[in-house]
Structure formats: structure tokens, C-alpha cells
Amino acid sequence: MLEIKNLHVKLEEEDKAILKGVDLTVETGKVHAIMGPNGSGKSTLSYVLSGRDGYEVTAGSAVLDGQDLLALEPEERAAAGLFLAFQYPVEIPGVGNMTFLRTAVNAQRKARGEDELSAGDFLKVVRAKAAALKIDAEMLKRPVNVGFSGGEKKRNEILQMAMLEPKMCILDETDSGLDVDAMKLVAEGVNALRSEGRSFLVITHYQRLLDHITPDVVHIMADGRIVKTGGPELALEVEQNGYTDILAEVL
């Protein structure tokens, strides 16, 4: 369970508040969606949860299954089971995708006191999972995300998620830039991972993705806060009417 309470975040470099009291609880096994206008703080929330530099938490807390996330290094958060599929996946020239995946999987296993996967076992698992996402062997050999199309990068994020088997998955606009078929693949990838012990926080602008990944709860974020929470019908309302009515109602 992820519990975010009264989270206030400002930029480290300047006096600019971005998150202004986020309250959000994602129960284990549930899928929550966050929608909200551009610039409302959705990506910032995902970065702060995963430990990116440049932000200062001025108040509040974020706890994953009893562990204070904000006290941990990014890699410790990952080992604790947190995963962020980036809105803009990063290109790393010179680091092979396979090396990257194996290093990540084994680092997490080590951090949890588990044995490292043998090269053979790793290869078997990664091949099967990549095939399911239609990521070919050639792509696995290339440097991380280098020369990948927008959609390939997003599928690569889901592959990483599938390999790392996190408890709490945050997907930041994983649907943007995907064609209809790729969207289905990604949704299938996510649905295949849905389980009692795993939660999702899906950030999206569109109902399209939520047609495939049905959320249990939908939140609307605006100006650094969760301003409205509802069921799947809330996403449909946004899709039809935009945010104007909802924001007028809550403000």
C-alpha cells in the first residue's frame, strides 16, 4: 500500500511550490489513475516518489508498505518495490539494453538478499517477456533507448517493469506516443502484471488507455493537489467535458 499524506514539494533551486498537499492512498492490488491538466504536478509527484534530485519535500510523507520512501535513495526505493515508467525514457549511449536489465535485476535481487540470476536463466526470462511486448532481439542488443522510436521506448519501460516485478508501479503517460496496436500491447503487458500483491498508479490524459486497463479509482490532480476522486466514470467525464467543469466545481 502506498500512502501519500499532505505532500508538499518545492523546487530545490527556486522558491516555487509544485505539490501543495497531495493526499493519496493506493491500496495493495488496486489500480489508480491520475488525470489532470498539463503542469498540475503529476510527473513531479512520480519523480519525488522515486527520488529524483532537484526537489525539496517541505511537508508530508510517502510510505510504501510501512517504509518511509522519502528517507531512501532511489535504488533503495526500487529495491523496496517502487517502479516508475518514465514519461520521457532516457537514452544511455554505450550501455547495452541487456546489460542494463541484467544489472538492474541482479542489483535488486542482491539488495533483497536473493541470489543473482544466472546468465542463462536471465536470458530465458528476458526473451520471453520481450517477445510478449514484440520487442525483438535486435532492440535488446542496442544501447538503452538509443535510436528507439517513441513507442519502442515506452514498450521498453514496460519490459523493465515486467523484469523487475515491482510492488508499486507508477506509469507516467506510458500511453502517449503509442499507436493503437502498441497501446494494446502495453495494456496487455500491464494487465498481465496485475495481481493481488501489486498496485498501479497510472498517469494519463486519455480514456483510451483506461479502456484497456480498467482503474479501480480515478483522481483528478490540479495545481499540486488531488482535487477530486471517483470511479472509472470520472475519466469518462474528463474525456467528454475536459477539466473546466470539474475544476469550477471544486475550487
Binding site: G51, A78, V90, G94, A107
Partner: protein, 429 residues
């Protein structure tokens, strides 16, 4: 145009005090000629154009600064798993007992110390000859000093495809050793040869390697320097290529108080390629200098210089690389990149890339960059659970990849990558 050089009294005194080794008619003559060259140019000083970034004082002083012997610990010797013919030099002296027999199919190997008395005509046409050619337009006094004073080294003539690489292994045994080695390598038409070099050579180590490559021959050179911390090293690699040749040299360097690697390559025949690459890591009070001069004097030749340096804790990196394209060297393809990765604010990278082009149909590019580790990439790796230090090491390796890719032989490249990984794990893991 020859560059005017500044003479100092100390340099004059040191030159006057030089005593040339005896032995061998042609070698004595070659040494004498080298001494004349050296006397004419003087020893290098800080005011010389190509010594502004690197202080030659300890390289030219009469006596070497002592260097503690280095304990490699549990690290495997370089090229351990490679099938090779090993020649060992301890403090600059050939160690026959520790070396393999000097016999290899397609290859003729003679110790320099034994060659002087014999009339080995190909060696006498090479020893000091490429070095002398390489003195213009930029003087390289340490190379002339080497030709004048070297007493040991190997002369290698390759007539076909060498059965395996020749591996020169240097050992450092005396804390004040001052070693001068001179190697000559001649590749006959169509020959194919790989030279490996590794190991700390001496407290102060001066090597010159002259390589003559005839039509259609291929020369590969892979070298490791390090991690002996206190060494002071000056190396020169002079090469002359005929037509349709391949020349590839790669050096992996770690640490060392002072390392100056010079490469002087002349492309004299059409359709040849010369690649010169280096990956260096300096941590602490270390200084590493790559100085390269490539002359294109034929058509359709390709040259590539790829130099990468990772620096931290006050380490200094220098790159001085020049491409000279002579008149008539049409369709030249010259590429040069020098980059440094600065792991903290307290290190320095000085680069002096130069292009001088007298032909009109050429493609030449050069670039030089200095930068820190990419924070975004670092965070991305960490967010996947990779510990910060491991992530840094991965990014350092990634930075060096372009240089390491210049090694053609897969097994040797693997050896170099493993070594690098080991070094990084030690430093950053």
C-alpha cells in the same frame, strides 16, 4: 615549418653529460646521428609549443624520481588468456629466462642488444629513421634521446600472417630504474601482426616503437598502462604506411604520475587506414597526455583518432592531436574526437585539436568535449535499482566504449573490457 625551440642551461648540461652505449657498428652510427639530432634540438622545456600542458622536467632530468614497486594484488596479468609469444623486459632489460623462445612462424625476432653486431639490413634502415622523419615539423626530443641511448628492445620482421601476437611484458623491479627501450617492426607486403604491450616498465620509462608497414599489411597494437601509480612514462609510436595498409593502435591507461603517449603516423600509400585510440582513467595526482600527429600524403586514406579520458580527484588530461593533409591527398577522410568525463570539479582536461589541410577534396572533422556524468542517465539507472556507484561505473564504461571498439580482436577487446571493469570496481564499486 620547424618550430623554434628554447634551450636551457640545464638541458645543455644534461646533453653534454650523455654517454652513448657502445656495441655494433651500424647501431653506433645510428646512435651518433640521433645524438646529433638531439643536440641540435635540445631537450624539451615547458615553453615548447607541445610541452605547454605537460611538464617534461622529470622526464629529462639526469636521474629518475624513484617509484615504489606496484603490487597488482589479485588482478590477473594483462592478456593472460590470449595465446601469445611473450617477451619480458625487467627494468628495460630483456629477460630471456622469463620469455618465450624467439621463434614464431612468419616472424623474425631479434633482440636489439644482439643485433648491433650483426648486419641486419632491414633494421639498420629502420632504427632511428622513422623517429628522425617524425622530428619535423614538431620536434620530439625524448624520442631522439631514446634512439641515442637505448640498449635493448626487439627488432621484429613479419613476412606473413603471424601465428600469434607478440606480447611485450614490462616488469618493474628496482625503485630507481630508468629504462629506455627501442623496438623496430617491419611488416613485409601482406603481413599481418599484432603487438601487445603491458606492465609497469620502470620508475622512468622511455619507449620508442618504429613500425614500417608495406603494401597490404595490417598492424594491430594493443597496450595497457597501469595501475602502477608512481611511474613516469614517455612513449613514441612512429608508423609509416604504404598502400592498402591497416594500422590500429589502442591504449588503455590507468593512473601514473606522468604518462605521455605520442603517435606519429604517416600515410604514404593510397587507400590505407590508421586508427589511433586511447581510453584513460586518472584518479588523483595523475597526468596523462596523448599527443598525435597524422600526416595524409596519399589519396583515399582514412584516419581516426578516438581519445577518451575519465578524470577525478585532481587528475589532468591532455590531448594534442593534429591532422595534416598534404597537397594531393585527395579524398582523405580524417576524424578526430577527444572527450573527457570529469567526475568532479577539481580535475582538468586540456585539448589542442589541429587541422591543417592543403587538398581541396577532403572530409575532416574534429571535436573535443568535457563534461560531467549525465545526471538524468544516472537517476534512470538508480531508479531501476542500480546502486549509485555501479551506475557511475556503467556510465564511465559507456563513455569509453567508442575507444575500446577500435580493438578488432574480440578476445583482446574482452580482456581490455574485463580489466577496465576490474579497475572501475576497485575505484568506484
Amino acid at each position: 615549418m620547424a618550430v623554434a625551440r628554447v634551450r636551457s642551461a640545464a638541458s645543455e648540461a644534461r646533453l653534454a653529460g650523455l654517454v652513448l652505449p657502445q656495441g655494433g657498428a651500424w647501431l653506433t652510427a645510428a646512435r651518433g646521428a640521433a645524438l646529433d639530432r638531439l643536440t641540435a634540438m635540445g631537450l624539451p622545456g615547458r615553453r615548447d609549443e607541445y610541452w605547454r600542458y605537460t611538464d617534461p622536467t622529470t622526464l629529462v632530468a639526469a636521474d629518475p624520481v624513484p617509484a615504489a614497486l606496484y603490487d597488482r594484488g589479485d588482478e590477473a596479468p594483462a592478456f593472460d588468456a590470449i595465446d601469445r609469444l611473450t617477451l619480458v623486459f625487467t627494468d628495460g632489460v630483456f629477460d630471456a629466462a622469463a620469455s618465450d623462445d624467439l621463434s614464431l612462424t612468419g616472424v623474425e625476432i631479434v633482440r636489439l642488444a644482439d643485433a648491433g653486431a650483426r648486419d641486419i639490413h632491414w633494421a639498420r634502415e629502420l632504427y632511428g629513421v622513422l623517429e628522425a622523419r617524425g622530428q619535423s615539423p614538431v620536434a620530439r626530443p625524448l624520442a631522439a634521446l631514446n634512439s641515442a641511448t637505448a640498449t635493448d628492445g626487439v627488432l621484429i620482421r613479419v613476412t606473413g600472417k603471424a601465428a600469434k601476437p607478440v606480447s611485450l611484458v614490462y616488469r618493474h623491479a628496482a625503485t630507481s630504474s630508468d629504462a629506455v627501450l627501442h623496438h623496430c617492426i617491419k611488416l613485409e607486403p601482406g603481413a599481418d601482426f599484432t603487438l601487445l604491450e603491458s606492465g609497469p616498465g620502470a620508475a622512468r620509462f622511455n619507449t620508442v616503437t618504429e613500425v614500417e608497414i608495406a603494401d597490404g599489411a595490417a598492424f594491430h597494437h594493443i597496450r595497457t598502462q597501469g595501475r602502477d601509480h608512481e611511474r613516469r612514462v614517455a612513449t613514441h609510436l612512429f608508423a609509416r604506411l604504404d598502400a592498402n595498409c591497416r594500422f590500429k593502435t589502442f591504449t588503455l591507461t590507468a593512473n601514473g604520475v606522468l604518462t605521455r603517449n605520442e603517435a606519429v603516423v604517416e600515410l604514404l600509400g593510397d587507400d590505407s587506414i590508421a586508427h589511433i585510440a586511447g581510453a584513460a582513467m586518472g584518479d588523483g595526482g595523475f597526468h596523462h597526455d596523448d599527443t598525435v600527429f597524422i600526416t595524409h600524403d596519399a589519396e583515399r586514406c582514412e584516419s581516426r583518432q578516438v581519445f577518451k579520458k575519465v578524470l577525478r580527484h585532481g587528475a589532468q588530461g591532455v590531448f594534442q592531436g593534429k591532422i595534416l593533409v598534404k597537397q594531393g591527398a585527395q579524398k582523405t577522410d580524417g576524424y578526430q574526437i577527444s572527450q573527457s568525463l570529469l567526475l568532479d570539479d577539481d580535475c582538468q582536461f586540456l585539448a589542442k585539436p589541429e587541422l591543417e589541410i592543403y587538398a581541396d577534396d577532403v572530409k575532416c572533422s574534429h571535436g573535443s568535449t568535457s563534461g560531467a556524468i549525465d545526471d538524468t542517465a544516472l537517476f534512470y539507472l538508480r531508479s531501476r535499482g542500480v546502486p549509485e556507484k555501479t551506475a557511475q561505473a556503467l556510465l564511465v564504461q559507456a563513455f569509453l566504449v567508442e575507444a575500446i571498439e577500435e580493438i578488432e580482436d574480440a578476445a583482446i577487446a574482452e580482456d581490455i573490457r574485463d580489466r577496465l571493469q576490474g579497475w572501475l570496481a576497485r575505484r568506484m564499486g
